[in-house]
């Protein structure tokens, strides 16, 4: 038996098919993964993401420590309420994890992946050194993501007046506390929406209110196809310890300036950049029928080979799409081997769908 979120019993009551995800018993879908996917793109849905790890960082050197720990620069968060996406690298420039960092009244709130929790905590503790920093994990909190074009509008009607006002005020990538709730305009679907961190004992009631108001519960299956269409990396597939962020579409999240900021992995990334980055993460679109899957081989004529890191059927596009790591010289055509046969694929920028619109 895996770990359970505070919503476990509600998932069962809603008919969820449960699966193991990083040691957690989580809902894969509540009937149809494809229907849940469309629901989020067209309206909105609620995801239980309480398995994710919330870590609060405080202490008078919190900023300095995070500027050392992370590839993005928390010095760019001008004031409480702002957030940024960052990689946490090892000395070799490999990705230990990716996360969202929120600047809070008392310091910073990190939301990291569930499956990497132990690796992250051990790594972060090993980097504390003599920094005057407190790290506090928050298993007392639950987290719901409400995503889709109608998400903010619908949620604002279902919460207290002050929270409703906050929901309307938040700009993308902002998050603020209201009482014991923390409400952020972030997500992992390519749609507008919210992520709400709240005390674990309040989560079942709130989740019930949302479902009672007609907001569909959405499982991890649709979460995966939504993030894939949005071109967002999944830790353990598209990025991991042996992948450089420069070969994973994450160069934008590396704060090179100021050049004096010595973050972990910086020397390795600079050497890689100097030598010339060899690989890139691209999007693939299969024009024929079939389904691209992780680990299938990609062949690029006169260039070399690559590998699919994430692949699935895209419900929005009604065709199969993938993320693939390929040689830098790859242009706009390639082939993928599926069960011994080679299929032509189109190579595209790895953002297939954003805000309900097809981009390829």
């Amino acid at each position: 038996m895996g770990q359970r979120t505070p919503l476990y019993d509600l998932h069962l009551a809603l008919g969820a098919k449960m699966v193991d995800f990083g040691g957690w018993d989580m809902p894969l879908h509540y009937g149809s993964q494809v229907e849940e996917h469309h629901q989020v793109r067209r309206d909105c849905g609620v995801f239980d993401v309480s398995h994710m790890t919330v870590i609060d960082i405080s202490g008078h050197q919190a900023r300095e420590w995070l500027q050392y720990l992370l590839a993005n620069d928390v010095g760019r968060l001008h004031g409480c309420g702002h957030a940024l996406y960052s990689a946490m690298l090892n000395e070799q420039g490999g990705v230990v994890d990716d996360m969202i960092v929120y600047r809070t009244e008392d310091g910073y709130r990190l939301v990291v992946n569930a499956a990497t929790r132990d690796q992250d905590i051990a790594w972060m503790q090993a980097q504390l050194g003599s920094y005057q920093v407190m790290m506090r994990e928050r298993p007392d909190l639950a987290m719901l993501a409400i995503q889709g074009p109608q998400a903010r509008h619908k949620i604002a009607e279902l919460v207290t007046q002050s929270r409703g006002v906050l929901i309307h005020q938040l700009k993308p990538f902002e998050g603020r506390a209201d009482g014991d709730w923390f409400i952020a305009r972030t997500g992992y679907t390519g749609e507008d929406g919210l992520e709400i961190v709240l005390p674990a004992d309040q989560a079942p009631g709130f989740f019930n209110d949302l479902v009672g108001a007609g907001i569909s519960p959405i499982g991890l299956g649709a979460r995966d196809t939504l993030r894939l269409e949005a071109g967002m990396n999944l830790y353990g597939q598209d990025i991991h310890l042996n992948v450089s962020p420069l070969a994973a579409n994450m160069a934008w999240s590396i704060a090179w300036e100021p050049a004096s900021r010595a973050f972990i992995g910086r020397a390795a990334l600079e050497a890689e950049r100097e030598a010339g980055v060899q690989l890139k993460l691209v999007g693939l679109v299969l024009e024929e029928r079939g389904v691209l899957r992780a680990h299938q081989v990609v062949r690029i004529a006169d260039v070399g080979e690559g590998e699919i890191t994430s692949g699935s059927f895209s419900p929005t596009l009604s065709k199969s799409i993938a993320l693939a790591r390929v040689p830098m010289a790859t242009a706009d055509r390639a082939e993928v081997e599926i069960r011994g046969k080679w299929y032509p694929v189109r190579v595209v920028k790895p953002t297939f769908v954003r805000h309900g619109k097809t981009l390829i």
Partner: protein, 127 residues
Amino acid sequence: MSNIPAELRFAESHEWARLEADGSVTVGISDHAQEALGDVVFVELAEVGKVFAAGDAAGVVESVKAASDIYSPVSGEVIAVNEDLTDAPESLNEKPYEAWIFKVKPNNTAELEKLLDAAGYKAAIGE
């Protein structure tokens, strides 16, 4: 609890088989199988004229989750495939016992006796 029609035979690999009046055998996947697969998005059909031994891979069903081989429950030659599945693979989810996948002209109809009956299949899937 999944639907398990009493008149069908089942392979442990979750295909159903039905002996038709003309002596051919129609093959599909069980309700339990489609439930476990999740939303089916693609079916790779066998070629008509191919000859399979019982247990040979005879096509692939791909769901959002994974690709699964379909095995021929009996030996014989493929005489028809359900082309409707090309445009409507989801019919395997919606009506698993109507959405057949292929038809075989069996070498030996006695092979059907080796397959599970409804009660045996029900026990095999733990229901």
